[in-house]
C-alpha cells in the first residue's frame, strides 16, 4: 500500500514542477503551449475518470458523456458573466462546483430515462440523447449561443486568494487542484457501498437483486454522480478557454472519453489517467506534426484492442505478481529485445504513412516532407525502400521476439504464483 501513496505524491510534485521546467528564460514567460496542453490533460483526466465510473465501475457503456461536460461548461460561462457583471458574486475557485451541480442536474434528468435499460439499449438511448443535445446546442441561441458559442472573461477579480487568473499558470494550478480533488473523491466513491454495489451490478445484476439492491437505482445514482464530475471538468474547460461552443458537448468528445478510458485501462482506477495523458499528447502534440495523426490514432486503437484489451494500466498491473516475487529485473532484457524491433516497426509504419500521405495530399499542398531531420524527396525509391524494409523486418523480428518474450513471461508468472 505504501508504495502507491509515494507514486501519487511523486505524480503531483511532477505536475506542479513541470511548467517551471520549460520556463522560457529569454522572454521571462512560461511556455504557453505546454501549460494549455497540461490544462487540457487535467480536464481530460476528470472526464476520463468520470466516464470510467460508468464503463469500468458499473459496466454502463454510455455514448453521451460529453453532454454533462458541455453543460457544465455552459453553466460556468453564464455564471462567470453574471459574476463579472456583479449581480451574482461568486469566487472563481467555487465555479467548477456549480458546474458540477449543473452536470448533476442534467444527469439526473437523462439518467432517469437511460438507466431504465442496460447494455445495448442503454448505449443506444445515450446515443440518441447525445445527438439531441449537440444539435439543439447548435440551434437554440438563448442558452447555447448557437454556433459562435458563448464567450466570457475569467478575470472577474473575485477570488478567495486574490488571484486575477490573468496568466495561464494560475488557471493551470486551479485545474490541478480541482483534478486532485475530483480524483480523490472518485477514488473515495469506489470504497463506499454504492461504489461496491456498482461493481456488483456490473458483474451480476441478478445476484445484486437477491441481496436487496435495485440494480436500476444503483445504475441511476452512479450515472448521476458521474455527471457531477463531468460537469466539474466542463467548468474548468470554460475557465481555461473562456468560450464554450457546441463542440464541448458533441459526439467527438464523447468518443474521446471512451477512448481515453479504454486505452488507459478500465479495470484499474488509475487507468483513465494514463489514457487521458496519452490521448491529449496525441491530439494536441502529434496533430501539429502530421496531418495523418488520425491514422496513427486509429492503428493504435486496433493494436491495443487486439493485443492489450485491458489497456495500459492492465499491462502494468499484470506485472504485479512478478514484481512481488522480486523477479522484475529478469524482464529488462526481454523488454529491450522487444523494444528494438517494435521501434523499427513503428518508424517503418510512420515512414510509409507519411510518404503515402505526402505523395497524394501533401504534394498538392506544396509542403515538403521533413522527417528525421532532413527534407525527403517523396518520389525517390530510397525512402520508400527504407520505410517498407523497416516495417517488414520490424514486424517479422517482433513476431519472433514476442514468442521468446511470451515464454519468459509464462515461466515468471507460474514461478510467481507458486
Amino acid at each position: 500500500m505504501r508504495s502507491r501513496w509515494w507514486l501519487i505524491l511523486m505524480l503531483i510534485v511532477v505536475a506542479i514542477a513541470l511548467p517551471w521546467c520549460f520556463y522560457d528564460w529569454t522572454h521571462h514567460r512560461h511556455a504557453g503551449f505546454l501549460i494549455s496542453m497540461l490544462s487540457q490533460m487535467g480536464m481530460m483526466v476528470i472526464l476520463a475518470l468520470s466516464y470510467n465510473m460508468l464503463l469500468g465501475q458499473a459496466g454502463l457503456f454510455s455514448l453521451c458523456h460529453a453532454t454533462f461536460f458541455g453543460i457544465g461548461g455552459y453553466a460556468t460561462v453564464h455564471l462567470l458573466n453574471a459574476a463579472g457583471s456583479g449581480d451574482f458574486p461568486l469566487p472563481m475557485e467555487v465555479m467548477p462546483l456549480f458546474a458540477g451541480l449543473t452536470g448533476l442536474a442534467l444527469a439526473i434528468l437523462f439518467g432517469s430515462m437511460a438507466t431504465k435499460q442496460r447494455a445495448t439499449a442503454f448505449a443506444m438511448i445515450t446515443l440518441g440523447i447525445g445527438e439531441l443535445m449537440a444539435t439543439s446546442a447548435l440551434m437554440f441561441h438563448h442558452f447555447f449561443g448557437g454556433e459562435g458559442g458563448v464567450t466570457t472573461n475569467r478575470m472577474i477579480d473575485n477570488s478567495l486568494f486574490g488571484l486575477s487568473y490573468a496568466s495561464g499558470l494560475q488557471v493551470y494550478y486551479l485545474i490541478l487542484v480541482w483534478t486532485v480533488i475530483a480524483t480523490a473523491l472518485m477514488y473515495y466513491l469506489t470504497l463506499t457501498p454504492l461504489g461496491r454495489m456498482a461493481n456488483a451490478t456490473r458483474d451480476n445484476f441478478e445476484r445484486a437483486q437477491f441481496i436487496g439492491y435495485d440494480p436500476r437505482m444503483v445504475r441511476f445514482l452512479q450515472f448521476a454522480l458521474s455527471g457531477f464530475f463531468a460537469g466539474i471538468g466542463g467548468g474548468l474547460y470554460a475557465i481555461t478557454y473562456e468560450i464554450v461552443t457546441f463542440d464541448a458537448l458533441a459526439a467527438p468528445l464523447s468518443a474521446n472519453a471512451l477512448l481515453m478510458a479504454y486505452i488507459g485501462g478500465t479495470t484499474v482506477f488509475g487507468g483513465p489517467i494514463l489514457g487521458a495523458i496519452l490521448i491529449t499528447l496525441l491530439q494536441s502534440g502529434v496533430s501539429l506534426l502530421s496531418n495523418s495523426w488520425l491514422v496513427y490514432v486509429g492503428v493504435m486503437f486496433i493494436a491495443m484492442v487486439i493485443f492489450a484489451p485491458t489497456g495500459l494500466a492492465g499491462i502494468i498491473k499484470a506485472h504485479d505478481p512478478i514484481r512481488q516475487a522480486g523477479r522484475l529485473g529478469s524482464l529488462v532484457v526481454p523488454y529491450l529485445r522487444l523494444a528494438i524491433p517494435s521501434l523499427s516497426l513503428v518508424l517503418g509504419f510512420v515512414g510509409v504513412a507519411e510518404l503515402m500521405s505526402f505523395l497524394t495530399i501533401g504534394a498538392a499542398q506544396g509542403r515538403k516532407l521533413v522527417l528525421f531531420g532532413g527534407p525527403i524527396d517523396v518520389h525517390a525509391t530510397l525512402p520508400w525502400a527504407i520505410s517498407a524494409g523497416a516495417l517488414l523486418v520490424g514486424g517479422l523480428w517482433l513476431r519472433f521476439e514476442a514468442a521468446g518474450f511470451h515464454r519468459v513471461w509464462e515461466s515468471l508468472t507460474t514461478e510467481a504464483r507458486r
Binding site: 473515495y188 466513491l189 470504497l191 463506499t192 457501498p193 454504492l194 461504489g195 461496491r196 454495489m197 461493481n199 456488483a200 456490473r202 458483474d203 451480476n204 441478478e206 445476484r207 445484486a208 437483486q209 437477491f210 441481496i211 436487496g212 439492491y213 435495485d214 440494480p215 437505482m217 444503483v218 445514482l221 454522480l225
Partner: protein
C-alpha cells in the same frame, strides 16, 4: 401462520403451461425439499417465488403478505433470499467483498455513497465471521471467479444467508459435487440455516431424505405428493412417476 405459501399458482410461457396449479404451505423453521424429474418445473417455481418471473395466476404469500407482484429486491428485503442452479456470484470481486456486499442492505447502508467501508468495524467483523463460518478464510482476497466449483457454491450459500433472510431457497446446492464435497456442503447448510425456513430443490435422494422434514414431489407442473419422507417414499404415485408404471 405459514412462512411461505403458494395458492393455486399457475405459469405458462405462451401456449405451454409449465406450472399447473401448485399449492404449497411451508411452516416457519421447516426444512422442505422439492424433488421431481427434469423439466417438472422446480426451478420455474423458484423463479416465480423469488419474483424473477411474474406468475400467470394464483397467489404467493411470505409470512402472510402477498409478494407475487413485487420485484426480486423488494421480496429479498422482506426476508426471502435464494441461490441459483448455476452459481451466481460477483466473479470480479474478492470473496471478502462478495460477502460484505451481501451484508450491506441488511445493515442499513442502502445506497450510501458517503460512508467509507474500511471504517465500518461491525460490518467488516461480520463479514470476517462469515468467512470463517464458510471455511473460506484462506481465500479471503482471491477473486470469486478464481475459486474452485465447490468453493463458489459454498460462497453462494454464504451470500444467500448473509442478509439474515428468514426464508432461504436453495436451488440444487450440491449439484456436480463429489461425495465428500456433498457431505461437507450439507453440514454447512445444516449449520447456517439453523432456525430458518429452508426450501430446497435437490436430486440427491440421500441428501433429501437425510435433511428434509417434508418432501413435495412435483411432476409436469403439478404436486403429486407432499408429506414426511417416510410417507412420500411409500406412495405409489411417486414410484410410478419416477420408475414408470410397474404392471402394465
Amino acid at each position: 401462520m405459514t412462512a411461505l405459501s403458494l395458492r393455486d399458482v399457475r405459469k405458462n410461457f405462451g401456449a405451454t403451461e409449465i406450472i399447473r396449479g401448485v399449492t404449497l404451505d411451508i411452516a416457519p423453521g421447516e426444512r422442505h425439499c422439492i424433488i421431481g424429474p427434469n423439466g417438472a418445473g422446480k426451478t420455474t417455481c423458484f423463479n416465480l417465488i423469488s419474483g424473477r418471473f411474474p406468475i400467470t395466476s394464483g397467489e404467493i404469500l411470505l409470512n402472510g403478505e402477498r409478494i407475487d407482484t413485487l420485484p426480486p429486491h423488494r421480496i429479498n428485503r422482506m426476508g426471502l433470499s435464494r441461490s441459483f442452479q448455476i452459481t451466481s456470484i460477483f466473479h470480479r470481486l474478492s470473496v471478502f467483498e462478495n460477502l460484505r456486499c451481501a451484508l450491506l442492505w441488511s445493515r442499513g447502508y442502502r445506497y450510501s455513497f458517503w460512508s467509507p467501508l474500511w471504517r465500518q468495524r461491525a460490518l467488516n467483523e461480520a463479514a470476517e465471521g462469515l468467512l470463517e463460518e464458510l471455511n473460506l478464510g484462506t481465500r479471503r482476497n482471491v477473486l470469486a471467479g478464481l475459486l474452485s466449483y465447490a468453493e463458489q457454491r459454498a460462497l453462494e450459500v454464504g451470500m444467500t444467508i448473509a442478509g439474515g433472510a428468514t426464508v432461504v431457497l436453495l436451488d440444487e446446492p450440491t449439484a456436480g459435487m463429489s461425495n465428500t464435497e456433498t457431505d461437507y456442503a450439507m453440514a454447512l447448510i445444516r449449520r447456517v440455516t439453523q432456525g430458518k425456513t429452508l426450501l430446497m430443490v435437490e436430486h440427491d435422494m440421500k441428501v433429501v431424505f437425510d435433511l428434509a422434514d417434508t418432501i413435495t414431489v412435483l411432476v409436469y407442473g403439478q404436486v403429486i405428493a407432499s408429506g414426511p419422507p417416510a410417507e412420500v417414499r411409500g406412495s405409489r404415485a411417486v414410484q410410478e412417476a419416477y420408475l414408470g408404471a410397474l404392471d402394465g
